[in-house]
């Protein structure tokens, strides 16, 4: 699948969709819509904002009329409150974030722009980008009581060029096609974070273009080649590999150990926002169906429904039995094709009947493969059994909450136990019983 030919990584921009669905709910909470059904919105207009100024704004990705505000299946398999905008066919200039030629120099102003620009990250970070990359002096003080780790200075800024999961090549694509804005974004993020060291993590066999390598070195970034072995691209594993620091789980993130991880696609988006004032209304999506030899990269408006995007994708994946938003390891199987493509989605994977035999409810045989490959050094065999038999306290004592749900244990299991399913079940039961108390 991974072709050395770079043209395969060239994304194609699809025509405007008839409608978009924009979720206004985040894992931390929802933002308040500032439009109501029936309103006309311009492209790039702000349609929802957070009263406290913590959660990022939501912007209209097309011009048109707001037709509905209602729950809609989101990228994580849960329904999210969303604003539905029906296009009026206009393709006017999008609203810029600031006037031409006047790039914002103040760091605080820059953070505000990042927050309102519509940048979303594919990794499920607990905090929005502008909170994560802000050095303590720039962090909104209202957050300190909730997240004491934000007081900690950022020592290492890690630019993540390693894709989150096998088969997804989005970051590789970004490094190839968005080189210019990526290089522009590096000094911006260095200034915001105040990091002493900046590392660029890339797969060990990646071929750099000469200009990219020179640009990165000029920017004072150390290039670190990592074995491209899943789950290397996930935050806890990457931070540990690169710095040797272990993120305390649960409840910790990269900031707890004085680091911050930003993926390369987001770096170039930051540059587009802070240098050119372009709100991020578009999404880069990889559409693939390995069994049909289909792999294409498309750029669509944020919130385009997969159904609408598919009309313009050729070759079209045929007769899917499973449609997965995200990738093969971390994605979510969707129950229809009417879900919005968002920056968090990254990839859509089509599987046909017979491509993948589902996991089965079989007893564990203690072969130890999961123990051997668990990146968190857990004993998934014991955890999965404890969750299976309802012994949740025991599972918690055996570090259930340190599981990052990467899925490696399911992948290697010879009897195909649904390991991730059992872990999530155990976590959900424990959280529910805690809420009751």
């Amino acid at each position: 699948m991974a072709k050395s030919d770079d043209s395969a990584l060239e994304p194609r921009r699809l025509p405007l969709p008839p409608k978009v669905v924009l979720p206004i709910e985040y894992p931390l909470g929802s933002v308040d819509p500032v439009v109501k059904p029936g309103d006309f919105v311009r492209e790039g207009q702000r349609i929802a904002r957070d009263e406290n100024g913590i959660l990022p704004d939501v912007r209209a990705s097309i011009a048109g009329r707001v037709t509905d505000i209602r729950p809609w299946p989101g990228p994580l398999g849960r329904d999210l409150l969303s604003v539905v905008i029906t296009s009026n066919g206009e393709t006017g200039e999008p609203e810029k974030l600031f006037e031409e030629g006047r790039s914002p120099e103040g760091l605080r102003e820059q953070l505000g722009l990042i927050s309102s620009s519509g940048i979303r990250e594919p990794d499920s970070f607990p905090w929005p980008l502008f909170v994560r990359v802000a050095q303590p002096a720039l962090t909104p003080p209202i957050l300190f009581p909730f997240v004491p780790d934000l007081r900690r200075p950022i020592e290492v800024l890690i630019l993540n060029g390693i894709d989150r999961q096998p088969g997804v090549l989005l970051r590789r694509c970004a490094l190839h096609t968005m080189e210019e804005s990526f290089l522009e974004g590096i000094p911006l993020l260095k200034a915001l974070t105040g990091a002493e060291r900046t590392l660029l993590a890339v797969p060990d066999r990646m071929v750099f273009s000469e200009s990219l390598e020179r640009g990165v070195r000029m920017a004072g970034v150390e290039i670190v080649r990592c074995p491209e072995r899943y789950p290397m691209g996930l935050e806890p594993v990457l931070v540990q590999t690169l710095t040797g620091r272990e993120i305390p789980q649960p409840g910790g993130d990269a900031r707890t150990v004085g680091t911050v991880v930003v993926d390369v696609l987001t770096v170039s988006r930051v540059a587009d926002v802070l240098r050119k004032g372009i709100p991020q209304l578009e999404t880069l999506i990889q559409v693939s169906s390995p069994s049909q030899w289909i792999q294409s990269f498309v750029i669509v408006r944020e919130g385009t429904l997969l159904q609408d995007a598919l009309e313009h994708i050729s070759p079209e994946p045929k007769s899917p039995a499973r449609v997965i938003a995200g990738g093969a390891f971390l994605g979510h199987a969707m129950y229809n094709l009417e879900f919005p493509l968002l920056q968090q989605t990254e990839a859509v994977l089509f599987q046909r009947e017979g491509d993948f035999e589902p996991y089965r409810d079989e007893p564990c045989i203690n072969c130890g493969q999961c123990v051997r490959f668990c990146p968190m050094r857990l004993f998934p065999n014991e955890l999965s059994r404890a969750c299976e038999y309802g012994r949740f306290q025991e599972a918690e004592a055996k570090d259930l909450f340190r599981c990052i749900e990467c899925g490696v244990c399911s992948y290697v299991c010879p009897v195909r136990r649904p390991m991730v399913h059992l872990m999530r079940f155990g976590k959900a039961e424990l959280s529910a019983s805690r809420e009751e108390q």
């Binding site: 088969g167 806890p236 540990q240 272990e246 305390p248 789980q249 159904q307 598919l310 079209e316 007769s319 899917p320 039995a321 499973r322 449609v323 997965i324 995200g326 093969a328 390891f329 971390l330 994605g331 979510h332 199987a333 969707m334 129950y335 229809n336 094709l337 994977l349 599987q351 993948f356 035999e357 589902p358 996991y359 007893p363 564990c364 045989i365 203690n366 072969c367 493969q369 123990v371 051997r372 990146p375 968190m376 050094r377 857990l378 004993f379 065999n381 570090d399 340190r402 749900e405 899925g407 399911s410 992948y411 290697v412 299991c413 010879p414 195909r416 649904p418 991730v420 399913h421 999530r424």
Partner: protein, 324 residues
């Protein structure tokens, strides 16, 4: 595109293709050189005994699963591997019914009564072997003189080297050239003699990722070091350490028996302790015990300790060190 009917399920949506069948196939392939060595030294009775054990183990499992109303899983190959391994632990001179009894006991008592595949506390092969050994010890220790095919020279000693060592007759033990020990040209069970063949199989298992190096290496190394200490103290009383690790069940036990799924610890510290325990117990039983061969009993004893050893585990990544 029309509305397709979509399946939903939990991630991940990809699998390595690993299966119990593939694991067992690798174990069987790893045992091929050992079986060939048995055939080479002891003639046709060797494969006959192994086949008999294998067939009776599989049929026993089939009958058990039918009678108990369990789904029949003989196609996963685990009973086959159990049977083959048991056959390799028998002498070619045992009567046919003894082999069948051993296989029956291994599958029913060792495996199914105690929890089924991967959940039995003791290695079923060793359980089966121990049953026939205790019940018919006279017939079990009747070893044939190796008569290598192709007219190679046969060894000049009459007893099992493990027996020789147990008799503390170092003078006799020193007769056995190491070359013969290494190639298995000594009287003994079908599969335990040829160190070369077992190492070939063991390296195959390691290369395929079916076992890790911790248990076999710690097993053999700790036995060697333990024997070295006593050999240094009194060479006239105790056999040379290399003699110990090349003789008897040591190699087969370290690579194929001690590593059995479900009976050995899974964490690295546990595996290392388990290997060391196996090695030291083997030497204690060989040097001062009433049994000639210490390996099976050492493995059974350490199997019993496995749940405890699995509590010695590495700190999970990100676990905050709790200071009391």
């Amino acid at each position: 595109m029309k509305r397709p009917e979509l399946h939903v399920s939990m991630s991940p949506f990809v699998h390595s293709g690993n299966s119990v069948q593939k694991i067992m196939l690798d174990h069987l392939l790893a045992l091929v050189p050992v079986m060939c060595a048995g055939w080479f030294y002891y003639g046709l009775p060797a494969p006959a005994i192994v086949l008999l054990c294998a067939v009776s183990a599989v049929l026993t499992e089939l009958a058990w699963q039918k009678v108990m109303g369990q789904p029949v899983r003989i196609q996963d190959g685990s009973a086959l591997v159990t049977g083959v391994l048991l056959g390799l632990l028998l002498s070619t001179l045992v009567p046919w019914w003894l082999a069948v009894a051993g296989a029956f006991c291994a599958v029913v008592v060792g495996k199914h009564l105690l929890g089924g595949l991967g959940n039995h506390p003791f290695n079923p092969v060793v359980v089966g072997w121990t049953f026939v050994q205790i019940s018919y010890s006279g017939r079990m220790t009747d070893y044939p003189i190796p008569r290598p095919l192709f007219g190679l020279e046969t060894g000049q000693y009459l007893a099992d080297p493990a027996l020789v060592a147990a008799a503390e007759d170092t003078e006799m033990a020193s007769w056995v050239p190491w070359r013969d020990l290494f190639f298995g040209n000594v009287p003994g069970e079908i599969g335990t003699g040829c160190v070369l063949a077992i190492l070939l199989g063991g390296v195959y298992l390691l290369a395929r990722g079916r076992i890790t190096w911790h248990i076999p290496v710690c097993f053999v190394a700790s036995a060697w070091l333990f024997a070295l200490i006593f050999w240094q103290i009194d060479p006239s009383m105790y056999a040379h350490p290399t003699y110990h690790v090349f003789s008897g069940w040591m190699m087969l036990g370290a690579f194929f028996l001690a590593t059995e799924k479900g009976t050995a610890p899974l964490g690295v510290p546990g595996m290392i302790l388990y290997g060391i325990g196996c090695g030291v117990l083997t030497m204690i039983i060989r040097m001062w015990g009433t049994h000639m061969e210490g390996v099976p009993y050492a493995i059974l004893l350490m199997n019993a300790l496995t749940p405890l050893l699995d509590r010695v585990r590495p700190r999970a990544v990100g676990r905050r060190v709790e200071i009391a």
